[in-house]
């Protein structure tokens, strides 16, 4: 048994199909009350990782533990504590919504007396009341996705695994789904994969970036931004001769590179400096420039999560480990 408080633990997990290695030596944990976002391009290994945690596929090597149960040997015990929404909502088209939820509740071993209340709760949480008696094959994509989420919430799981839960939803439904995830994540563990970076920043305590089956970074969105600040950029608009401005900027301590963009209609130039991490650089630039020319604007550009993501995914195709 694992003594750490984490409910999802991956220890050096690898997955091979034949000679192809899909997941390389993946390790991370998710704790109760934590929402972890799983980011990566298509084919990065997100779904395979989700499937290994859910017990649908077994790891080739390494160990996956959920709620203290080893998924290799105790996957049925662990399954009682997992709510899983696969990438493609696993729905029986021939059943109606009510019959489907009843089947899942029974199969999860929910006590007969508790089934109606549980179904009512997840139906309300996922806004399915309007289609409760409808056959599943008639449901729209948004309803199918939310029924998949409702199914995952049945049986009071400790862990929610959601593979792209907001795919195919309209903005209103995305907002509602995020609220469900956020509410559940207050006292449970949630791991969800997404393409939408803003979503990860909005509701995740931590973000894991994965590509080519390797974990590239895992940190809070703010932590990832801090890690990127060493390549922070300072942008300024100033009316000055380009060559002299460049020389002056490069002379300021902490400035590494300067890029000057052509003059605007009013004659002002835009300069972008790559600066070292640290707080004094902006002020030093401002003082030096303002002493000689008209400084119109100066701002430090925060790296967006999108830039961070692209940087990790593009620049680190090889060996993993966080920055």
């Amino acid at each position: 048994m694992n003594t750490s408080p984490a409910v999802i633990v991956l220890e050096s997990v690898s997955k091979r199909y034949g000679s192809a290695t899909i997941i390389h030596d993946l390790s991370f944990t998710v704790e109760p009350g934590e929402i972890v976002g799983f980011l990566g391009p298509n084919g990065a290994g997100k779904t395979t990782t989700m499937r290994m945690i859910a017990g649908f596929t077994a790891a080739t090597s390494g160990r996956v533990t959920v709620a203290g149960y080893d998924m290799a040997t105790q996957n049925v015990e662990a399954a009682r504590r997992i709510g899983y929404l696969p990438e493609r909502p696993p729905l029986y088209d021939a059943l109606d919504v009510a019959a489907y939820l009843r089947f899942v509740a029974r199969a999860k071993g929910v006590a007969r007396s508790a089934i109606p209340a549980q179904i009512e709760r997840v139906t309300a949480a996922c806004h399915l009341e309007a289609v409760f008696r409808h056959e599943i094959y008639k449901l729209s994509k948004g309803y199918r996705q939310r029924l998949g989420l409702a199914q995952a919430l049945l049986g009071d799981p400790d862990v929610l695994l959601l593979d792209e839960p907001t795919a195919g939803l309209d903005p209103g439904q995305i907002h509602e789904t995020r609220e469900v995830i956020r509410a559940f994540g207050r006292d449970h563990a949630v791991l969800f994969s997404t393409h939408i970076l803003a979503e990860a920043t909005l509701i995740c305590g931590r973000v894991a970036i994965i590509n080519h089956g390797r974990l590239l970074a895992i940190d809070s969105p703010a932590g990832l931004q801090r890690a990127m600040e060493q390549t922070n950029r300072v942008m300024l608009e100033v009316t000055a001769p380009a060559a002299a401005l460049r020389d002056l900027l490069l002379a300021v301590a902490g400035v590494r590179e300067v890029e000057i963009h052509p003059a605007r209609a009013d004659g002002a130039l835009t300069a972008v400096c790559q600066v070292d991490a640290g707080s004094g650089t902006e002020a030093a630039i401002a003082r030096a420039v303002a002493a000689r020319w008209d400084l119109h604007r100066l701002e430090r550009q925060q790296p967006t999560l999108e830039n961070i993501f692209l940087k990790y995914v593009q620049e680190r195709p090889g060996r993993g480990a966080a920055a």
Binding site: A54, A79, Y92, F103, R106, A107, K108
Partner: protein, 235 residues
């Protein structure tokens, strides 16, 4: 147990939503009625023997259509990802589905009981022979559905599952014909033992032999164990 029952009930409630189910019911009942009329009215015999023989052939040809969807449809619809991550052990899934298929077969078979009405009205059939015949039919069905479920577990494609099952079952049904070509008594005995049709013939004659009962049950058990093992290993 409750997990198995959940799977069983789900099977029953989804099965009759498929047009294939109505195809199987109609062909089986129309076919049985046709053979019954042919055997009884034309020959004037008030027995079910000829009809049972034809029912056996219908069963071997139609049961692949009942069993083909059992697991293959779960794979292709993506619901396997739910079913295999629910807190269910492989045997609960395999048995729940198998019992569902058996129940469907028995429900269809019950439709043939109507043939007994004229038989008893206008003749004096031997009840024990008829009971033995239905027992043999049920056991044959158990073996056929278990074999079909195994092939449905092994493929994502329902058509492939049905075709392989039909080929294997027809092979077991007709393998008895090879007996006449075998000089060695051991081979003749083995072929006779493997023949679905020869065991079934005993039941039709009103003979319930332990060997025949055990044969069908063992075939079913082996196929079900292999299905459950495959579900465990496919992870």
């Amino acid at each position: 147990m409750s997990g198995m029952l959940a799977v069983f009930r789900k099977e029953l409630s989804t099965y009759f939503r498929s047009p294939i189910a109505y195809y199987v019911v109609s062909v089986f009942l129309l076919g049985t009625g046709y053979f019954f009329l042919y055997n009884v009215v034309l020959t004037g015999e008030t027995t079910m023997a000829g009809t049972f023989q034809n029912m056996g052939v219908l069963l071997v040809s139609l049961s692949p259509l009942i069993s083909m969807r059992l697991l293959a449809s779960e794979y292709s619809a993506g619901t396997a990802e739910l079913l295999l991550t629910l807190p269910l052990r492989p045997w609960q899934i395999v048995l729940g589905k198998y019992l569902g298929a058996i129940t469907i077969l028995l429900a269809i078979t019950a439709g043939t009981l109507i043939d007994l009405v004229p038989l008893y009205l206008f003749g004096a059939p031997e009840t024990t022979t008829i009971v033995a015949g239905y027992m043999g039919f049920a056991l044959l069905g158990m073996a056929c559905l278990a074999v079909g479920q195994l092939f449905s577990t092994l493929t994502h494609n329902q058509i492939v599952a049905a075709l392989i099952t039909a080929a294997v079952l027809l092979g077991f049904w007709f393998v008895g014909h090879l007996q006449s070509f075998q000089a060695s008594a051991v081979l003749r005995g083995l072929i006779g033992y493997l023949s679905f049709a020869l065991h079934f013939a005993d039941f039709i004659q009103g003979l319930v032999r332990t060997e025949a009962v055990a044969f069908y049950l063992i075939v079913a058990a082996i196929a079900l164990i292999l299905s459950a093992t495959h579900l465990e290993w496919r992870r």
